[in-house]
Structures are given as C-alpha cells and as structure tokens.
C-alpha cells in the first residue's frame, strides 16, 4: 500500500519548503509561490485518497523512523479513515485561503503567506502524527502562525483576541503535556499512539487523564463553556485566518477526542459521556441563541460554529457507528460550509469594509451571483437535505437518539434554531433594499472569487447527494474504534450488534498497520 514512498512527509513538509522560498523570494512573488505550493500539496494529497484502502482499519502510508533514542521518540506518521478526510480538507482549503487573501492582505504579504504555509505543515502534521511527542510538537507549532495571523493582520482589537486565543489553547495544551508524560510512564514507556491506545489504565487514572485531555480538546472544539475565545478570534482574524480557524483548527479538538480520549481512556470516556452529551446539547442550543442575537456577520457565524461543533461532539460521545461517522462527516461539512461562509463575509468586507449586517443589506440586487453563493452556503449550514450538512447532522441525531431520546430531542431543537438564525441573517443580508449607501457601486464576485467558491459548492452538493465515497473510508476505522470501546457488544439493538460483529470478523483484524512491528497482538 505505501510502496515505501513517503507521501505524508512530502505533503507535510512541502509547505515549509514553499515558506522558505517565499522568505528568499521577492515580495511581489509571495502570493504566486504560496498558491503554487499549496496547489501542489493538494495535488499530491489526492493519491492518498486513491491509494487508501477503505477495507483496512489500520494505519496506512506509515512512515516510522527512530528520532531520539531515549526516551524512545519516533518520527512516525500514518493515516486511517478518521484522519484521511481531515488531511484532505486541510490541503483543499489552504489554496483557497491563499486566494481569499490575494487582494485582502496588503501589508507584509510575504510573512502572511509564510504563516499560512507553516500553518498547513503543522495542521497536516497533527492529523498524521503517530507519535505523541511528534503530535505535540505539531500541535504547539500551529499556535504560533495562528497567533500571528490574528495578531498582525487582524482587526482593531486583534491583540486582545490573539492573546486570548493563545492563552486559552495554551492552558489546555499544558495539561495535554501532563497527560502525555503520565501516559508515557503508565503505558509502557512509549510515545507510540497506537501502543498507548492498546494499553489499559486504571479507572481512577483514566478519570484524571481524561480531564487533562478534555481541557486541551474542549478549548479547541470549542465546547461550552470554553468557547468565549472563538468569537473574538474570528471577529479580529483576517478572512483566511477565520477560514483556517473554523475549518481546520477546531477539528483538532474533536480529532483529539477520537484519537486519544476514546481509544486510550475507554472507561473514563464512558464515565464522562453523560456530561459530554449535556455540554454538547448546551453548545448546540446556546450557540444557536447567541447567533440569533448577533449583528456582526463574523460573530454570528462564529456562534453558529459553536452550535455545529456541538453536533460533532454529540455524535462522538454517542459512541455508536452512526454517531461517530456522522461526527467525522460533520467535521468535514463544517469545514466546507463555515469556511465558505467566512469567505463570503470576507468578500463583502473587501467591498463595504463592514461586517455589520445593517451595512450589508439587500445584496441580491447589486450582487446576484454573490447572493446565490451566499444562500447556497447558508442553506447548507441550515442542514437542508441534498446538501452536505444534512447527512452528517442526520447521522449524529440518529446516533444520539439511540443513546438517549431526550437528548436527541433537545438537539433536534437546534435544527429549528439553525433555520431561524441563518434565515434571519439571509433575510437581512440578501433580501430587502440595498443598505445605507445605495449609491455605492457594489461589484459582483470576480473570477478569482468565483473560482474559489465553485469548488466549495461542488463539495456541498457532492457530499449531500452522494456521500458514500466519504463514508466508506470511515467505516473500518470507526468500527475498530468502537470495538475498542467494547461498546459494540452492548449496543441497544441486537441487529446492529450482529451486523457490526459480522463486519468486524469478516473484515480486517484490527490494528495491522503495514510496516509497523506487531506489538499489538492482543485482540481488544
């Protein structure tokens, strides 16, 4: 499968090479180099999709080299059905972020593009790392370019927002570091994520470890009540920063739950499930109400993110196939839809220099094409069937419903509220007469903007109408994750159990990563 070709290393470090080239090149070439480099990374990431074997639950494209002898730290990379979609999401969105910043960023273009590309390296690294230390390095590296994106190219209140962002995430990260060290000593003196996932830890220890990891991941998601950094960060960040932040960065939190909390700490995960479900439902409803009250477009979308990410965590902790697959799909969907909405806000901000809804009223008349895009993404955010978010939300709600009917009912209220806040926004932005300065000439989307929005529309409908290819890559990995939870056997419905068991036994044996020595001989 891997053919020994270091695909992952290539796509992780190519952006760094690009960043280096920008550093030595002329300022006027920075945009072109960044675009070329990120597009190349995108093209190189496509073979991952083609070569990926969806029937295998194990890690694929594994690379493993000893990095530090003692403690044994490896340069270990690999992806499975959970990380592959996220890697592709990142490589897909980065070129769009370069495009969206093409004219919006006027000062320090070089540094901006370097930050973007460093960001890409760090985020892909996070999704690919199989060694906890390596993961942690990428995880922390990512903070710096993001901090700079907000702090240097942000709005008037950018320093406050950047510091708040930094503090929140760093506080979580420190606790993750603590957990990392404890796991090293308790999990057999290894940083190998797969090995750590196979070890078993005492229940009390799991409890504390879960809390430590929760601090790191919940801040990133962000889960209620750790969400207050998000609106500030979004409002101040430049468009590309907002897109990366919403589409990729937030996913690291939910990815962390899936990669660390659930497989390493199954008992604690089970203990905390009710709390997580309640926090998720609060996030869904609370975020929606908050969005309803906003007058600033970016803030509105930021709070809608809180609500949407609530669906993701709801699905993850429902701990059944529908819930988790829905959650992963929803991570992708949120990346596409919310990223697109932030781009739309960026486009209009370049024209009216305001993100206030009142200043951007009645855009359908002067900018019909823009209005069309905006409405499509808004409806996708509402979760209309035939569009991407519906499939994810539907799965998540089914999963949550199997877990507890009452919780799912409350979450379904979020569906109503989503329609309310999104359409209320559309009503004010798209409909009506043009706002305060009707005389001002508003130019419709140009070719560059058209070119970056069209692929996103494509994804909206592709995942909405034919999500099978995306779901197919997840099945095996998700089943394995659930097998580790021991939850397949206790699932409510007898038929579900049978089918899953059959699929597990007739499918691959869990944890057989190619090229990884088989230390994991015990079946879960």
């Amino acid at each position: 499968m891997t053919n020994g070709f270091p695909w992952l290393t290539l796509i992780i470090f190519l952006p760094l090479v690009g960043a280096g080239m920008i550093a030595v090149a002329k300022e006027s070439l920075a945009r072109q180099i960044a675009l070329a480099c990120s597009t190349l990374v995108l093209l190189l990431s496509l073979p991952l999709w083609a070569l990926f074997d969806p029937s295998s639950a194990g890690m694929q494209f594994v690379e493993r080299h000893r990095w530090i002898a003692s403690p044994p730290i490896y340069y270990a990379l690999g992806i499975d059905g959970i990380s592959l979609p996220l890697v592709l999401l990142t490589t897909f969105l980065t070129p769009l972020c370069v495009l969206v910043s093409w004219t919006a960023i006027e000062k320090r273009v070089k540094e901006f593009m370097i930050s973007l590309l460093v960001m890409e390296t760090a985020t892909i690294g996070v999704f690919c790392a199989l060694d906890f230390v390596l993961f942690y390095i990428f995880w922390e590296t990512m903070l710096i370019p993001m901090y700079l994106l907000i702090g240097v190219w942000g709005g008037p209140n950018r320093i406050y927002a950047a510091i708040k962002f930094f503090l929140y995430t760093l506080a979580g990260s420190i606790l993750l570091l603590v957990a990392l060290i404890v796991l090293y000593f308790q999990g057999g003196q290894t940083f190998d994520i797969l090995a750590l996932s196979q070890a078993s830890y005492a229940k009390d220890l799991q409890f504390w470890l879960f809390l430590a990891m929760f601090a790191a991941f919940a801040v990133k998601v962000p889960m209620f009540p750790f969400h207050t950094w998000l609106p500030d960060a979004h409002v101040e960040a430049p468009t590309a920063g907002s897109v990366i932040l919403a589409s990729v960065l937030l996913k690291m939190g939910t990815y962390g739950f899936l990669r660390f909390s659930l497989p390493m700490l199954p008992d604690a995960s089970a203990t905390f499930t009710p709390l997580m479900m309640v926090l998720s439902v609060i996030a869904i409803i609370y975020g929606a109400y908050m969005a309803l009250a906003q007058e600033d477009l970016k803030k509105l979308i930021a709070y809608s993110s809180v609500s949407h990410m609530g669906f993701v965590t709801l699905g993850i902790f429902a701990m059944n196939p529908q819930g988790i697959e829905g959650a992963i799909l929803q991570m992708i969907n949120h990346g596409i839809t919310t990223g697109a909405l932030f781009m739309c806000v960026g486009i209009i901000y370049e024209r009216t220099h305001s993100r206030q809804i009142v200043d951007n009223a009645g855009l359908a008349k002067p900018m019909p094409r823009y209005a069309t895009f905006f409405v499509i993404f808004a409806l996708s955010s509402v979760g209309l069937p035939g569009m991407n978010s519906f499939v994810g939300e539907f799965f998540v709600l089914v999963g949550a419903f199997v877990w507890d009917k009452f919780v799912a009912t409350l979450a379904a209220l979020g569906v109503i509220l989503a329609a309310a806040y999104i359409l209320y926004m559309v009503q004010r932005v798209v409909y009506g007469m043009p706002g305060v300065e009707p005389s001002r000439k508003l130019v419709d989307v140009n070719w560059r903007e058209f070119g970056m929005l069209v692929p996103l529309v494509g994804f909206v409908f592709w995942i909405g109408l034919y999500p099978k290819p995306v779901l197919d890559v997840m099945h095996a990995s998700v089943d394995q994750l659930l097998a580790r939870q021991g939850l397949v056997m206790t699932a409510e419905a007898p038929r579900a159990v049978q089918e899953n068991v059959i699929r597990l036994s007739s499918g691959t044996r869990p944890f057989e990563p190619a090229g990884l020595e088989s230390r994991l001989d015990q079946e879960p």
Partner: protein, 665 residues
C-alpha cells in the same frame, strides 16, 4: 422500461433546473420557459405511462436509483415506491403542475427574474416528486425539506420587498418546527425497526405497541401540521401569499400543503394502531376547518381569502384522516387541487387585469370585462362551495358522511358549519369581485383586459376538471378512485359503508341545502342589499375586528415565542460576554491587564523595535521576540497552573492506588 420511466419523472425537471439555473442568463425567456414547462410535460407523460402500468398491475413496486447513505446498520437508498397512492399523487402533481407552468409563462411575462422563477418552480417539482415517490422516510424528508426550500425561495421571489423576505423566513422557520417533529418520528421509527423503508416498516407496523405507535404518529402529525398549515402552525400560509400567484396556486394550494395529508395516509397503518393520534388528527382538522373559515369571512385581499380557504379545506382532509376515511381524504385532495388551483389562477388573472390590485373593495363589476375569468372563477366557487354535481360536493360530502356515520358528531358539526361558511365567503368573494358597481380605480379601469390564451386555456382545463373531477368518486364509496386506491388506503375499520342509502342521501341533501344557504346569504348581502353587510359589521364590531385581525394569533405568537426568543438570545449574549467569559478565564483580571500590557508592549517596544531594526528584521525573529517579551507573564501563570495539576496528579497517583494496578496487561 418501467424503471426508466419512473426515474425519468423527477429527472426531467431536474435537468431543466440545471440547464436554466446555470445557463439561463445566456438565452431568452422564451427558451427558458419552453424548457421549464416542457420538462414538466414530459414528466406528466411518463407519469401517465406509469399510471397505465399500475392500473394493469397495482402491486407496489420499488425502484432504486442508488445507495445514498450507509453507516453502521443504517442504510438508505434513494428509492421510489410506485403504488396506486403514489400514482394518484404523481398525476396530480405533474398534471396540475404542468397547467400552472403554462399559465405562469403568461403571468410572469416580462418579469426580470423570469428564468429564476422557472428554475425554482422546476426545483419544486423535483422535490415534490421525490416527496410522493420516495420509498423511505429519508427520501420523503428530502422532498419535504426541498419543497419547503422552494416555497421559501418563491415566497421571497420579490426579494427587494421586505414583507416578502419576512414572510419567506416565517414560512421556513414555522415549517422547521414541524420538521423537527418529523425528524423525531424518523428516529423513533429507525430505533424500532432498524430501517426506514416503507415496505418493511408498514408491513411490520402491526408489531408496534400502542404507546410506540402513538408516539410515532403524533411526531409525524407535528410535521404534517407544519407543512399543511393546520392549527396551531398555520399562520405562515396566509403570509406566503407574498409570492407570485402561480406559486400560491401550485405550492400553497394544490400540492405542497397537501403533503401532510399524503404523509398521514401513507402511514395509516401506524395511525390505525393509535386511536389517540387519530382523535388528534380529527380534532385538529375539524377545528382548523371551521377556524380558518371564520377568518375567511371578513378578509379583503382576494388571495388571503383563498389562503384561509385552503387552510380550511386542508382541515377537511385532516378530518377525513382522523375518522379513518383515507380514500375520502385523497379524493378531496385531488378535487381540491383542481378547484383551488383554478381559483388561485383565476384570481391571478383578475390581479393581472387590474395591474396588481388585490383588494376586493377596489374591484366589482368585472363580470363583463373579463368574462372567461369570471366564468371559471364562478365554476371554482361552485365547486368549492359543495354544490352538486361539481367536484367539491362529492369529496366534501363523503368526508362529512364518514364522520357522521362513524358517530363523530362533533367533527361532523364542525365540518358542516364550516361548509356553510365556505359557501358564504366564497360567494361573497365572487360577488364582490365580479358583481355590483365597479369600485375600480379609474386610472386602472380602462386598462382592464382579459388575459392571453396562454393563461386562459389552463384555466378552462382546470375548470373542466373542477366540473367532472368529482365523478372519479361516484358512486360514493365505489367510484373509480376508490377501487384504485383500495389496496393501499383502505381503513382498517372501514365500516362506513354499511349505512343505509337513505342516510347517505339525506346527508347529501342537507349538505346541498347548507351550500345553497351560504350562497343565498351572500347573494342577499352583497348583491341585493349591498349596504347590509357593512351594517352587520358595524353592529358586531367587536367580533368583526377580531376576525379581521385573524384572532390576533400572529401578535400572540410574536409575544409568546418570537420576542422571548430574541430576548433570550440578547440576554445570553450579555451573559456570555460578562459572566461566562470571565468565570471561565478564571484569570480574567490577569488577562485584561495582560492584554493591556501586551498592547502597550506591542505599541512601544515591538513596533518601536521594528522601526529601528527596519525591514531586515524577518518574521521568525520578530515573532519570537514578540512572544518572549509579550507573553512571559502568561507563560509563567500557565506553567504554574500546569505544574499544580501535575503535582496533584502525581500525588493522587502515588497515594491513591498500589503500583501494581497500573501495570500493563
């Protein structure tokens, strides 16, 4: 061949949507229109062919397009079910839909958004077809939301009108309330049956406990109430009249709003097991039928009267479902599609003739000026009023007879009073519009003209259908429609037919008399003694104002739902900024100070430093410096906290358990 035909039915309009939507701006309105109605006509032809096939062999058949989603044990195909019920709905949707498309070519002529209008209309056709053809609840739901979307887009068609935008949002959000109920029903069905296919679910429905069946049926009912504009979720429909008139005819009268009725009939196997839910359906239907009719008595906007009449007529269909008369419900659905589409389109023709005027107080005496419109409007009125032998008489009478024979006397009474009122307000509308002296604005008066053929021909066809449509269900209980639908929609306890012929004839005679009573009263008040009506209104001014203001339900909802929702949002917004933010930070004081300090440092040291060092200072060094100088305090604080937790963990770990318990397996 059969399968291909079935797949082509939604595919034709879908292609038209794609072509008109993507390239519509490149060619003329005429081409766009031809594509739009042509595609619907092709669908209609396919539907006819399918219908012929189903008549020959009424066995339900499944056609799978492709596997849509699959995860865990949940697997959903985009699959269609073709049985007699679907066939009837297909013919109504494509047939009436085609006529309305043709009419729209004339009505929307010269509109700036002509192509956009037809793109939305075709998209609506696709969604509606998915809704009635789907073989599982997920496809039903796709169609369900799809028609809601198109309704939203078309109500807001005149996008620069704020009232239209508001009405559109209102319609969608109110529908969503119903949709949430529908979603819960889907989850209940899935958690019980582990599939969403009708074929399995409905075949195994008898295994449901009464409680479960009631829960599913009530959740479905919430969805149906939203979509079919029943009490208490009906207020969006009158506002939906902001859309162009053909939209009102197609979506808000003939097809989409009947989706709730279709859903209840489709799931009658579940409803039959849930007497409480059945009673709820019947009561909601009966009260809505009467309630909406009373509001319709005094409205002055021609389209709003028709809108309330639609709500009321849908109430009759629900009433029918509630008493187990499913075939009668579908029968009324079909005849209503004919005469209500006719009435709306004829009203559109009136509005067209008067240059956009919708207030019936500014009409009158139009009989001679637009004779074709007058004739067809009159036919529609007679049909809806329940005067034999036009369509409405047969279907409405069958519903009321069922209610009476099965001893639902309360529901019968609601329906019977509603019938008198229906007859009255419809003839009031007709007389005020077409009889008496002209009250038309003199500027408009000499522009009055009959509509072009492209509009009048569909009107005449619909008028013909409104006259003869009722004979599908004649003789009562044993008509063509009944024998066709019997395999799929016969009620479990359909004992209605054992009643004596005498009773049935008696009820029919009584119904006819009440219809004539409404007609007579309207004639007396609005033609013979035109001043009487105003006098009556003055004498009962309290009641009149109450009705004119639609019982203040909108205001009530604003007060109890919309405003508190917004206020809650605002309140939480405040709390979020002032309470949660601070509490969670815990180190809020530090952060505020830190932010201020960092800002100061940024301003005075970093930028200062940058200026000195100049451009040569590259990003890495710059940011590193910034981090180091700006963040030291925070690093320190956080590391202290981290250490504290670490120490805590270590302590716990050393004291809390024996080392052995942590060993690896």
């Amino acid at each position: 061949m059969f399968e291909l035909l079935v797949l082509l039915i939604p595919l034709f309009p879908l292609l038209a949507v794609l072509v008109n939507g993507l390239f519509g701006h490149r060619y003329s309105h005429e081409v766009a229109a031809r594509l739009a109605y042509g595609s619907v006509f092709l669908s209609f032809l396919c539907a006819l062919a399918v219908a012929a096939d189903v008549v020959a062999d009424p066995q339900p058949r499944e056609v799978v397009a492709y596997s849509w989603i699959f995860g865990g044990d949940l697997s959903i195909d985009l699959a269609f079910l073709i049985d007699p019920l679907t066939t009837v709905m297909l013919l109504v949707v494509t047939g009436v839909g085609f006529l309305i498309h043709v009419y729209s070519v004339g009505y929307m002529h010269g509109e700036e958004g002509f192509t956009r209008f037809f793109t939305y209309m075709n998209l609506f056709m696709v969604s509606m077809l998915l809704l009635v053809m789907g073989n599982n609840y997920a496809v039903l739901f796709i169609g369900w939301e799809g028609v809601g979307l198109c309704s939203y887009l078309l109500i807001g068609y005149y996008y620069d009108k704020v009232s239209a935008a508001k009405a559109a949002t209102k319609a969608f959000v109110m529908n969503r309330i119903g949709d949430a109920g529908f979603l819960l029903a889907i989850f209940l069905i899935f958690s019980h049956f582990r599939t969403l296919d009708y074929t399995t679910v409905l075949a195994q429905a008898s295994e449901l406990s009464t409680g479960m069946a009631t829960a599913i049926a009530l959740c479905l009912l919430v969805g149906a109430v939203g979509k079919s504009a029943q009490l208490p979720l009906y207020t969006w429909l009158p506002d939906a009249m902001e859309g162009p008139t053909p939209v009102s005819a197609l979506i808000h009268a003939a097809t989409m709003v009947t989706a709730g009725v279709y859903m209840v009939v489709r799931n009658h196997a579940i409803y039959d097991l849930a007497p409480i839910a059945m009673t709820a359906v019947g009561i909601i239907g009966g009260t809505t039928a009467l309630f909406a009719a009373t509001i319709g008595l005094v409205q002055n906007d021609i389209k709003r009267v028709l809108a309330y009449s639609t709500v009321s007529q849908l109430g009759y269909m629900f009433l029918a479902c509630g008493v187990g008369a499913y075939i009668a419900a579908i029968f009324h659905l079909v005849t209503h599609a004919f005469f209500k589409a006719l009435l709306f389109l004829a009203a559109g023709s009136v509005i067209h003739a008067l240059g956009g005027e919708q207030d019936i107080r500014k009409m009158g005496g139009l009989r001679q000026k637009i004779p074709i419109t007058y004739a067809v409007f009159m036919i529609g009125t007679i049909a809806i009023a329940g005067i034999p032998p036009l369509a409405g008489f047969w279907s409405k009478d069958e519903i009321l007879a069922h209610a009476f024979v099965q001893h639902h006397y309360g529901l019968y009474l609601l329906g019977a009073i509603g019938a008198v009122l229906t007859s009255f307000y419809m003839f009031r509308l007709t007389f005020l519009t077409f009889y008496g002296p002209s009250r038309v604005d003199p500027h408009v008066a000499h522009h009055i003209h009959e509509s072009p053929k492209v509009m009048t021909v569909p009107l005449m066809i619909l008028a013909a259908l409104s006259i003869v449509g009722g004979f599908l269900g004649v003789p009562p209980e044993h008509g063509l429609l009944h024998s066709f639908l019997h395999p799929v929609a016969a009620s479990a306890g359909g004992a209605a037919h054992e009643s004596s012929t005498g009773l049935v004839v008696g009820l029919a005679t009584f119904a006819t008399l009440t219809a004539f009573a409404g007609l007579g009263l309207a004639y007396y008040l609005y033609v013979v003694r035109p001043h009487m009506a105003d006098e009556w209104a003055r004498r009962t001014s309290g009641l009149y104002t109450l009705l004119l203001n639609k019982y203040y339900v909108d205001e009530f909802y604003d007060r109890i739902a919309v405003e508190p929702c917004k206020r809650l949002g605002d309140m939480w917004d405040w709390a979020d900024r002032h309470i949660i933010d601070r509490v969670v930070q815990g180190i809020n004081h530090m952060t505020d100070k830190g932010a201020a300090a960092a800002t100061w440092i940024e301003k005075h040291i970093i930028y200062g430093g940058l200026n000195i060092i100049g451009y040569a200072n590259h990003l890495a060094a710059w940011s590193w410096r910034k981090l180091q100088s700006g963040m030291v305090h925070h690093y320190a604080t956080i590391i202290v906290i981290g250490l504290a937790v670490l120490v805590h963990l270590l302590l716990f770990w050393l004291t809390g358990a024996t080392p052995g318990s942590y060993a690896m397996r």
